[in-house]
Subunit: 106 residues, 2 copies
Amino acid sequence: MIARTPEPPYWAVIFTSTRTDIDDGYGAMAEAMMELAARQPGFLGVESAREDVGITVSYWTDLDSIAAWKAVVKHAAAQKAGREKWYSAYVTRIARVERDYSFEAE
Amino acid sequence: MIARTPEPPYWAVIFTSTRTDIDDGYGAMAEAMMELAARQPGFLGVESAREDVGITVSYWTDLDSIAAWKAVVKHAAAQKAGREKWYSAYVTRIARVERDYSFEAE
């Protein structure tokens, strides 16, 4: 559930959103997009949780991979549908991960 | 709930965690840390959600602010307690936000 990413540097797409009250296939779309993303070149992992706000962070080897994923036809259609019915607001932030550190209980 | 951040560049601390089943003041600590973070120099905003995994993304003007926040005494104590009882695992990633774009429904 916590993404196993390589040594930095790599890239993160932080997608933060609030939902409308329209369901209309949202869950199926979100799941399909996670599976589709995982098959893209340069994909490293993804983490996601939603309470008042939804946060999905996907990790990528480089900016070109992120640009290619943004342009995948089914993904572009999901983004359009997202703006039309599923999301009341969102922010997408593209960030370069410079360092990381982790902890795991024994 | 979605952080209102300035024009990039700025910095993000992506903290992804899984919890133990020990409560023992976790919620109060998490809330206190959010309030304390918001009073630190260089703090820009925070977003947080938990389902299977918890994701908290805090935003900062620069790396020095992030280093100063990490060293705040009460925060350091919370990190130590987190490793001892609250978290089964976590990864902290420090990333430079290079670009962002947003959507808001009319």
